[in-house]
Subunit: 246 residues, 2 copies
């Protein structure tokens, strides 16, 4: 590198040569959601080490620039490690970076949320994490989470709720096949509100992302038609939001 002889020029070089900067640490944290026992749950890990030893945290970790080709790779790697699931619905939410969230240093964390059908999940605790558990959303606010994970989780939940008002995102929480009532129930769990049955079915029908399997579910009462997601189906965006009170 060439000689620098004044302050401004030094700043110039600092701005344009990344190796001159002390780098922050860069992590990825994912709020992994699923439905269990008619409640929304998020996967949390109890930390084995300082800082925040013994406190619960979202699934995450540092980027490994040798293993990971991209940020999303980091998220997927951690998710696979913990749940065995390969291709979840994964959406980036927000990146927080500052010198207060980790007591040790300046850190950056990009957060994602993932939606998993509750079937086929095999939790793997293991290295560095003695406990890994599904935590009820109704109780996360009373737990003292590590880092700023309380904030991050809130943001993830807000995004999920907001999008559930005008998209078909929640279908990503459903198993292979399901009934309309079951799907509506998932929406209601996410939104924390009941929905008009007619409005709901009209919307889903209009979105044209589902098809009947032909099978019926014997519920004990009138049997319900089973639906599955069409092959080509993408998340559908409605032009109006759904409301409903009660």
């Amino acid at each position: 590198m060439r000689e620098t002889n004044n302050k401004e020029e030094k700043q110039f070089w600092k701005d344009y040569d990344p190796s001159q900067f002390k780098k922050p640490s860069m992590a990825v944290d994912t709020a992994i959601f699923t439905i269990l026992d008619s409640e929304l749950h998020v996967l949390m890990i109890q930390r084995d080490e300082h800082p925040f030893k013994d406190q619960w945290s979202l699934v995450g970790g540092y980027i490994d620039i040798e293993k990971d080709h991209s940020l999303e790779d980091t998220a997927k790697r951690k998710l696979k490690e913990k749940t065995g699931v390969d291709t979840p619905y994964l959406e980036q939410v927000e990146t927080v970076g500052n010198n207060t969230r980790d007591p040790r240093e300046w850190t950056v964390s990009t957060s994602y949320f993932a939606l998993l059908p509750s079937e086929n999940i095999r939790l793997k605790s293991g290295k560095g994490a003695s406990n890994i558990e599904w935590i009820k959303i109704s109780s996360y606010q009373s737990i003292d989470l590590a880092f700023d994970h309380q904030y991050i989780l809130t943001k993830c939940l807000e995004r999920l709720k907001a999008k559930s008002l005008y998209t078909t995102l929640p279908i990503n929480l459903m198993p292979e096949s399901f009934t309309m009532s079951e799907l509506q129930r998932i929406y209601e769990i996410i939104l924390g509100k009941t929905i008009q049955q007619k409005s709901f079915r009209r919307r889903i029908k209009n979105s044209d992302i589902l098809m009947e399997t032909g099978e019926m579910k014997a519920t004990g009462k009138r049997p319900a038609a089973f639906y599955k997601i069409k092959e080509e189906a993408q998340t559908h965006f409605f032009t109006r939001t759904i409301e409903s009170l009660s």
Copy 2:
């Protein structure tokens, strides 16, 4: 640090001690938008140095962990440096991180977009950037931008357009006081479409974020009422999107 004696344990420590990781570089890039000559423009800088020497890039730079308390601080610092503006509307869009966007190394960039009224901007070129210019949005796609800034800018534009369909975001591009027709024109420039005048005014009136200043603008024809943004006003979200063709 304690002894490690097998592969899994080594991985354990790597996962939990950030200092064991080779860190990616971390930058912030901002698409700074304003309206000039009835067109949406974005502020771009011609690079003085490799890589991508002489190509145009968004306003950005590396996090300076000594100067910046947070990611947003980095964005604001760079924006202030280049435009002299202190408190713009600033919204985080997406974080991209991989080993291909910068030929030198694994890098992460968090992108923001900013909305500035065209009044009161004093461009400052200077260290490391010979040219700094407002580029018309209509022409950015034919320019070969540095890094993945083409992608990032597209994402920023998509976000701005999408939100303009159901929020009052574009008021952040307006000067101190303005007429309804002027505001509508800004929406039309962003959306690239004309809007029904009646629909537009109905929405804005309903949002209740504007108040008449009492002044009138002599346009040569029927004078138009001047409006300004109410003190307490926040971005308003409508429950339906606006459409309009032609």
